[in-house]
Symmetry: D2
Subunit: 303 residues, 4 copies
């Protein structure tokens, strides 16, 4: 398999696309991103890395950070984290708050916002915010083998100012006793965690610990790797998770900044970035690119 | 790997379980099944088959039939089937009808009842009910390599008499124009399809076409196999699908009769039967047995 | 108060309205009605009757019939009817089925479709359909003091053919054990009851028993009259009930045929008919006409 | 009619009741209230006032304050207030947040929490919090003809500390652009407004402006009085509003402190207080007492 040729082909195909989706516009830092960016980077099981496009340009990983935060939280708290958050897809987007109501404040999974807020809150029970963010950044840097990964403070600040829905979720969780810190404190850390910036090259390398391949960084146990991958597959793309599994056939986690981290277990860690989003809030061309790559490379967990 | 030893171990472990779940009781034919039954059967990639327990006792496969019906319908109609049914997990059980309302009568996926009713209805556009059921039974028999597979007419009759929720769903679909036949006609076929009876040995063999392994029956294209497996993983256990993916890590489809068909792509087709159900309506000991088997055998699509 | 002058004024004002709403089009018999019709008829406490417009033209009273059916059912069954149906407004229209699910098959009130189906079903426990419809027609004729009131069989037939949502509701109720007859049987009577045709003059007279004024027909006890009026006020206009109470200030019940029966307790029974509907499915000009009449006449239950 | 005799009878009947409901316990100031309190006070159209029980003991009026806040806001803003809040009953309690989502942040009516928060927020567009609370207290004191009415600061503080659901609602409203002030600011005023304390005697007098009777304080126009009464009738008891209208037949507004203000238009203003609540969060014995009083006195808006 000539991965470099496949990547070139994907880039060309994506370049012909007239509809690139709509860039997230709820904060100026995201609204101002050039929708013309495209990058894809792949780390293979042999440790080699292959990229096309703007793979060295940093972008806001946003909800992709939830994968690292979950891995860190499971390491700190173990399986009792699951007392506070479920493992099921959430169905309709609009249900998030209704489901909190019905399910007594237990979010459906750690990759919807409510669930990710609980995960952050759980670690903050024993870590000060600064300490938590330091550990998270350390985890990501170790995973990527690269210390040049940072939090964009302007993004974190804008998220705080516009994050009314997240504040609503946090207060709601608190009303059910499933938030142990004051909403401002937990959300402060949560907004900073979402504001991590990485390049596609860095993100692909940071995904190696989920590949379950020899020679890759071992940051969590094999059993936990499989479970994180399972959650990425069933819940990693909000209400587009089923569609991503159907079309791509690999675990992946998207962010509203236009990035997607995808894992082909035993074979590859893949990062893609294209800022325009589809109706479900996932990178439009990024999804198409990963689908094309997976098909050409013959990567699917389903056969 | 000594699969026979693993199966014995699983049976012993399951035999020690005090809580076997509750047998479905909405029709007398299911309510009367002995909860003490247990069977597991595995077909490996080398074609060998291994079983424990009551693997030769027929049971009502119920919703497991939706996998075969979907494969058949895709063969007849191709991808335009997806105009009428989605590919997303449904979230909360209670949403099924609310979601139909919101989503204009398009069921979320082909494995919830509303979706399976649409799949059956779609094939009935060009097939008479008797013809459809003949083709479906033919498909299952070919897959299993066994002609001794039948529909239990008493079960089909009881389903018809008590299927008020399914009638409600069918009329609702009809109100949105997503049911082309009269509800009685489509549901007549649907209830018969759910009333197929198979043994665990037969069901495991019937699952071989989803294994994507050399020498197995090739009934649908490889691409379609992967997509059916993707749907089984994200939607195959109703509102317990995420949990099954998390714990077992394999695509599976359950039925209210206590059967589960599970696929380890490239490696095995697994059927299990234990009539008692858990809170999500999936076989309680069956789920535990598949989880144990998958762990011991090291089978997971996630690494 | 010169009621004739007020009625003329109302008709003129309504006649100037450019937007008459949209005529119900789900069955040909309603779709074909001329949207230009307008009629209003008022019976005062002194027994005099005053009309404008097409007050002698029969129209399909549709859901206005639920008032008579409720009065009849309460007479037959007494307060145990309330074991099967509630007395609360239903909130959002789309909730009707969700609420049935949450509230164990007990419809919120007797004026939403699910509730009216239960009311009809309850009387059918002791009456054959033909007998029930005979009694209902008798009740309406007695109330109106007019035997020339009939059921339009073509309308009843069309309702049966297109009533998929009502069939869905009935099967759903049955699934919860809150429908004792087969759905076809109960809905057969229900569709016939909705197909009663009356003129505005007849409908206003038929509403006299809810006026609580001396000399009016006494068909139910005073206490029950007040309670039926209360239900009309809180639930009589589906999800537009609050708005009707706010603007008109009188109990009323609308039908999709464009009729509204409104009661000014102690003062008047008012019938209005204009076939075009507003977004909530209530007569657009009919609502405006009753609002204008109530304001000019100074009729409001609220002061 | 001997109102004093009726009141004695009501008190005796209520005194025999074994089940007094459960006192609200979400803040210590309410949880500590003696459930044995009972008071009822009636102002008749002739201006006379009649009381039984602890009619001179102040209690927290809580949501009863929403009536005064609405009257004040309509006076300040006029009908453009209705651009931001609806006039329909809300249906199921759990819907409140779902409905905000579906209805683009427009609360269903001004008497559910979300709606009352919007009403307060609207006045704060032109008034500082201190100024607003001063005006509100002034309005209530004028209505009651009594300056000895105050805000309980301890209650306001406790509400602030435990009001997570209200904070969630406020942030949610803000996310939809239907909250113009910071949540803390609007809620600060809202919690203080709910913490107004009055005796039953004061509350009955404060309700006189809604009676539409000669000689009563005229604080808002007759048209507006009728509309406020309409809203109290359709929406004044949360998801128990239909039941209150059905049983009592008069407009009323309840508070979680156990108070209810009820209006018999043209005849009486009625205040009742019994701290124990029923399942819908309305005073249990208070509701029963008003029902009995209305029946004995023959007061009903429905005939």
């Amino acid at each position: 398999m000539d991965i470099a040729a496949i990547l070139r082909e994907v880039r060309e195909s994506v370049g012909r696309s007239a509809d690139r989706g709509a860039v997230a516009n709820y904060i100026p830092e995201l609204a101002g991103v050039d929708p013309g960016h495209f990058a894809m980077s792949v780390v293979l099981a042999d440790g080699s890395q292959h990229s096309v496009g703007d793979a060295g340009v940093p972008f806001s990983i946003q909800s992709v950070s939830k994968v690292f935060a979950l891995a860190l939280a499971l390491g700190r708290l173990g399986d009792r984290l699951w007392d506070r958050v479920g493992r099921e897809p959430s169905g309709l987007a609009f249900n998030s708050i209704l489901q909190l109501e019905h399910e007594k404040g237990i979010p459906r999974n750690p990759f919807i916002n409510a669930g990710a807020i609980v995960v952050t809150d759980a670690v903050l029970a024993t870590h000060a915010p600064r300490e938590y963010l330091g550990e998270l950044l350390g985890f990501i840097r170790t995973a990527a083998g690269d210390d040049d990964i940072h939090i964009n403070q302007a993004v974190a600040r804008s998220e705080t100012e516009t994050g009314h829905r997240n504040f609503a979720l946090a207060h709601y969780l608190r009303a059910f006793g499933n938030l142990t810190n004051p909403p401002e404190l937990t959300l402060g850390s949560y907004f900073h965690q979402c504001a991590v910036e990485m390049t596609c090259d860095q993100l692909a390398r940071a995904g190696r610990f989920l590949m379950e391949a020899p020679g890759m960084p071992r940051l969590v146990s094999p059993d936990r790797v499989r479970r994180i991958n399972a959650l990425m597959l069933t819940c990693g793309h909000y209400d587009g998770s089923g569609e991503f599994a159907f079309r791509v056939g690999l675990p992946g986690k998207s962010g509203v900044g236009g990035g997607i981290l995808t894992i082909a277990p035993g074979r590859a860690a893949i990062a893609v970035w294209s800022p325009g989003l589809n109706a479900q809030g996932n990178s439009k061309l990024g999804t198409e690119a990963v689908e094309m790559l997976a098909r050409r490379a013959g990567w699917s967990v389903f056969g």
